[in-house]
């Protein structure tokens, strides 16, 4: 077997394990929470009166929440393998249907935020390495720490205040169309851009001080050409690895951002499902999110050898300089 497929196979097995572990941990964690989700649903609907134990037991059985816990787990796992997560306790809708509505919206948001993060982060890193004045350089280098420190719910509210209420450029509810995507994507992109900017800026700084950079400069190439034509590609590996982490951040951040902008999606679904202990929905969303997370990381792992031949030849990541 050639090294590349073996490397691939190992990564793939890891990915499957991560998804299974996410499923199992969620199942256990939700079962450990106090409270009965079915009682919660029935009580929530009562006009001030609580449901009787008989009603709770009957509805629990209808939803498959009876029998030993191990049996329930195996039933849920078998269903999940077939893409069937059961039905939501609260709404009675099939979970797969809810996800098929919510997933494209969150993917849209996540992809837009990720793209914005990369563009803004790269621009920041390039600028920080091009600026000659020490003061300007220092200022640009501090931008990431400031940006990371701003909580996204606050950023979201500020953007709404400015762009929805004052300038009336974008809607404050991020439900509809492209215009509704702009503010949520910007909010979600800021910490990611900061992270990319910081890592890439450091790595560029190191790369531009290597002997080969001096060699290129000696041929008379401008600093911009050294940076964009040669430095960026060599400095990109750590930043691209960061993208894998960013995917996780974007998935988590969507919970806050979708709430602030009341944008329907996976984040809203899981927020509501967790507060009402809607186990099938939590389970479904967690599995889909973990699949997305491992898929992006797998893609990053596959991309690195393409960019850096040193990883390709050994099947391992090159030691960072």
């Amino acid at each position: 077997m050639t090294p590349v497929p073996r490397y691939l196979l190992g990564r793939f097995a890891q990915a499957v394990f991560v998804v299974w572990a996410a499923f199992t941990v969620t199942f256990v964690a939700i079962r450990l929470l106090p409270g009965d989700p079915v009682a919660l649903m029935l009580n929530g609907r009562g006009g001030g009166e609580a449901a009787s134990p008989q009603d709770i037991a009957r509805v629990s059985a209808e939803l498959g929440f009876d029998g030993p816990i191990a049996e329930q787990y195996l039933r849920a796992l078998a269903g999940a393998l077939h893409g069937d997560f059961g039905q939501s306790i609260q709404t009675g809708l099939p979970v797969s249907g809810m996800i098929s509505v919510a997933l494209p919206r969150t993917l849209q948001l996540g992809a837009a935020a990720l793209a914005l993060s990369l563009v803004a982060g790269t621009a920041l890193a390039v600028a920080a390495n091009l600026v000659r004045s020490p003061l300007g350089r220092q200022a640009l280098r501090s931008v990431p720490s400031v940006a990371v420190a701003m909580p996204s719910f606050w950023v979201g509210l500020m953007l709404i205040q400015l762009f929805s209420l004052k300038l009336k450029l974008f809607p404050s509810l991020g439900g509809d169309g492209l215009a509704g995507l702009v503010l949520p994507a910007c909010t979600l992109a800021i910490p990611g851009a900061a992270l990319v900017g910081q890592v890439l800026s450091k790595s560029l700084h190191a790369t531009l001080r290597e002997p080969y950079a001096d060699t290129i400069r000696a041929t008379g190439a401008s600093e911009l050409r050294v940076l964009l034509g040669h430095g960026l590609r060599n400095a990109a590996i750590p930043a691209i690895t960061i993208v894998g982490l960013l995917a996780g951040y974007v998935i988590g951040g969507s919970v806050v951002v979708e709430s602030v902008f009341s944008r329907p999606g996976m984040g809203q679904d899981i927020f509501f499902a967790v507060t009402t202990q809607d186990l099938p929905v939590v389970q479904g969303v967690v599995v889909v999110a973990s699949v997305a997370f491992v898929a992006v990381n797998l893609a990053v792992d596959l991309l690195c050898p393409v960019l850096d031949p040193r990883i390709r030849s050994t099947g391992r990541q090159a030691v960072a300089r």
Binding site: A39, G47, T91, P171, G175
Partner: protein
């Protein structure tokens, strides 16, 4: 600028006047930001207010209730009478009414609706027909509904969406499907779609012609469709209304209400009928002592509470029932008197301790207030007020799931449960010791008062029973009434003729965009 606007308004007025007055603007989509996903649209299965705002427009009811007088008036039933001392109710349906699937609204459909309702978990609308023995169809338009014992609250219940009339075929549908909106009513709107965690869209039924006798619009709805977007964040609803993305936002917080007085907006507001917002007292533990309960009753400064945190729309409680509830009579027993509280607590053996909190046999006078998160700001104000009489409240905010569990298990001294319904029978939901009795009231004469108000043969008799019950509850401090809550929605001036029904649900049949 100002002149231009006035001129513009004048032109619009002139244009409107030129049209025939009954045929004002029609069409358009009304967008509403509501505070939660209703999760279930079936009025028989849920009593949640956000859900009733939608289902109210999809189903018609036998009767309607006049929000001003509390009187029950005709809707689908053109005649209704109580017989046999309130054990039997006879209805005559109006002619020519159809469900949205084309089948007629007849006695058989009413029978199927109630026969199904009585089988459901008895914690929402089904509780209103407890003791139901059946519906007897006399002819397609005439029927009687029978009960084992007199049921004085039944006629009021027939005006609520919970007892809305559904098609015969609906009764056979699975409950989960009905929650998603798969049911058929005869209302002015029909469901277009319901997407969980996102929106419900309803559209008008063009051939609708049988509105409530209270409705100004006698024909089909003016609006083409209505979109309810679920916006749980208070701030996001406010912003959506201000930026013009929606024309109505529900549950505007006291801090934001001033934004919508003028500036092209107004507040649609009404005092919630039913049981007022109280401190609900667990009659086990420290609060088993009536003197301590009475000390809490006089230890609350209701005027101050309303002024400081609740805003001008709320009102200090003057009874266990709110002033907009039928059979409400004010009492003068809810006075602020901290000296009296001090005396009562000393009598009960609670002496002032070193840090101001009273103690008895080494035990602090500390009460556990179980609160479903997020905690409303009024709770802290109550905590501060009672601290002044030497009572410590531990604010125990827990996730809603845990709240329900802990409340059922009785692990609390205080909760705060109000019930919105325009009928004094809400007292029976809360204080009947033979009912669910979450607050562990001992059996007493109160039980018979609550039974009497249900079985009363006349309004005078019912009034007497309600008054007796209210005074008993206050005299024994079985609950500490705090304030009358108000529903406050923000509405753009583009929306015309939008009103609330007696249960404070939106009456969207009359509404239009101008």
């Amino acid at each position: 600028m100002r002149t231009a606007r006035i001129l513009g308004t004048a032109l619009v007025l002139a244009a409107v006047a030129a049209c025939s007055p009954s045929q004002a603007t029609t069409g358009g989509t009304l967008s509403i930001a509501t505070q939660a996903d209703p999760t279930c649209l079936d009025p028989q299965q849920t009593g949640q207010l956000v859900s009733m705002d939608v289902s109210r427009s999809l189903v018609d009811t036998l009767t309607d209730q006049d929000p001003k007088t509390g009187k029950i008036v005709p809707w689908l039933a053109e005649q209704f009478t109580a017989l046999d001392g309130g054990r039997k109710f006879k209805f005559v349906l109006r002619q020519g009414v159809t469900f949205s699937d084309g089948t007629p609204v007849d006695s058989a459909a009413v029978k199927a609706t109630f026969d199904q309702l009585v089988k459901l978990p008895a914690n929402g609308a089904p509780a209103y027909i407890r003791g139901y023995t059946g519906t007897t169809v006399i002819d397609p338009r005439t029927f009687t509904v029978d009960f084992t014992t007199p049921n004085a609250q039944f006629l009021q219940a027939t005006s609520g969406a919970g007892l809305g009339i559904l098609s015969t075929a609906t009764a056979k549908k699975p409950l989960a499907a009905r929650c998603r909106g798969d049911y058929v009513g005869s209302g002015p709107y029909v469901l277009d779609h319901y997407t969980a965690n996102q929106e419900v869209v309803i559209k008008k039924r063009p051939d609708y012609a049988w509105p409530s006798s209270l409705s100004a619009n006698r024909g089909a709805a003016a609006l083409e469709q209505i979109r309810f977007a679920f916006v749980p964040e208070d701030g996001a609803r406010t912003t959506a209304l201000r930026s013009g993305q929606v024309q109505l936002a529900t549950a505007i917080q006291p801090t934001d209400q001033d934004l919508f007085q003028g500036n092209g907006f107004s507040l649609l507001s009404a005092s919630s009928p039913g049981a007022v917002n109280p401190l609900s007292l667990n009659h086990k533990g420290i609060l088993a002592d009536e003197r301590v309960r009475k000390a809490l009753l006089t230890g609350i400064d209701r005027e101050e509470l309303v002024k400081a945190v609740l805003g001008s729309r709320a009102k200090p409680a003057t009874s266990v029932l709110s002033s907009s509830t039928p059979f409400y009579q004010p009492t003068d027993k809810l006075r602020y008197d901290p000296q009296a509280s001090g005396r009562l607590l000393s009598e009960a053996g609670w002496a002032p301790g070193s840090d101001g909190i009273r103690v008895k046999d080494g035990q602090r006078l500390s009460l556990n207030w179980l609160i479903p998160a997020p905690m409303p700001p009024a709770n802290e104000a109550v905590q501060q007020q009672l601290r002044k009489i030497g009572v410590e409240l531990k604010l125990n905010a827990v996730p809603p799931a845990k709240y329900v569990e802990q409340q059922s298990a009785g692990n609390f001294d205080l909760t705060a449960v109000a019930v919105t319904r325009a009928d004094p029978d809400v007292l029976r939901n809360l204080f009947y010791s033979k009912g669910q009795n979450l607050w562990h009231l001992p059996p007493s004469r109160l039980d018979s008062y609550l039974e009497q108000q249900l079985t009363a043969g006349s309004d005078a008799e019912r009034q007497q029973a309600v008054t007796n019950a209210v005074h008993w509850i206050i005299d024994h401090a079985d609950s500490i009434p705090l304030y009358e809550n108000a529903l406050v929605d923000g509405v753009s001036d583009q929306v015309k003729d939008l009103t609330l029904d007696a249960s404070l649900r939106l009456r969207l049949h009359d509404a239009r965009l101008g």
